[in-house]
Symmetry: C2
Subunit: 136 residues, 2 copies
DNA sequence: TCGTTTTTTGTAATGATTATTAAATACTAT
DNA sequence: ATAGTATTTAATAATCATTACAAAAAACGA
């Protein structure tokens, strides 16, 4: 535990982010909950441990992590953003029944098309929608 | 012009949508502006032709078209939704400088993975982000 | 310890979308 | 044609996620 905190702290320092208590807690949460949580889920769960926590801090922290490339944001619907600690390229499947977001591996690094020859590609995203096995 | 209106009208009737003047105008707009416009762009442009037009009508109409599968919605950022009259599967590239959304052809129909073997896939989406040639 | 910077917190503002309801229009049957 | 009914549009209010802002708290450095 002590050790884990040190690891998280080091991870933040690597990214030139000052490892405050709240930031470490958010990073810890994202590491333990790799289910693509929303701001609300993160806030409600962490608030039980940190009663004085503010939702603004969650937004600030996530945007900070985003800028440094520590996490990625998933926008499938235009309502709630989901956050992903796994930054290596992979696809997402969102169940339209239970709302759960699943990972699947897909390699888009190989994909190129002459239609985008003059374009500078920074980011590639793939997501499917449908019904998960549990809901079928 | 008269003929075009008839075509659009027939298209709506096919989908069991009553072809009102506003609905035909929105469909006409989407046909002529295949650049993935937002609600605001559609509203502002059509308002010049139809001074009494309401933004609610745009929302209602687009949601109606969406339900019937006549159009598709593009959610790349979580701010403004863009609408696409082209419903056959293709990829989108959003320029982070000018905001423009480009089409490119990509075939995901063939893509399968055993990770999603038990899943019912309804919809597949691909979008890239980066800088377009004009902005480079 | 004092002054400065950073971080957190609380609240207000923003903005896109939806909900609601009344007005306008289209349709139907007498 | 007319009256009554159903549909569509318009205007406005409500919702809700996110951002902006400013004060309080904490960390830092001399
Ligand atoms: Mn993921
Ligand atoms: Mn398109
Ligand atoms: Zn499900
Ligand atoms: Zn551009």
């Amino acid at each position: 535990m002590e050790l884990l905190f040190k690891d998280l702290s080091a991870e933040l320092k690597n990214r030139r982010i000052h490892p405050s208590y709240q930031r470490i807690k958010v990073l810890d949460y994202l590491n333990k909950n790799q289910c693509h949580p929303t701001v609300d889920q993160i806030f409600k769960d962490l608030q039980r441990e940190i009663p004085t926590l503010s939702k603004s801090t969650i937004y600030n922290t996530l945007n900070l992590f985003l800028k440094s490339g520590l996490i990625k944001v998933i926008n499938i619907e235009n309502n709630d953003a989901h956050y992903d600690i796994i930054t290596k390229n992979h696809g997402h499947f969102k169940c339209e029944s239970c709302g759960k977001i699943f990972n699947f591996s897909i390699d888009l690094n190989t994909f190129t098309t002459e239609e985008l020859s003059g374009f500078k590609i920074i980011d590639k995203n793939v997501y499917f929608k449908g019904i998960c096995p549990r809901c079928l």
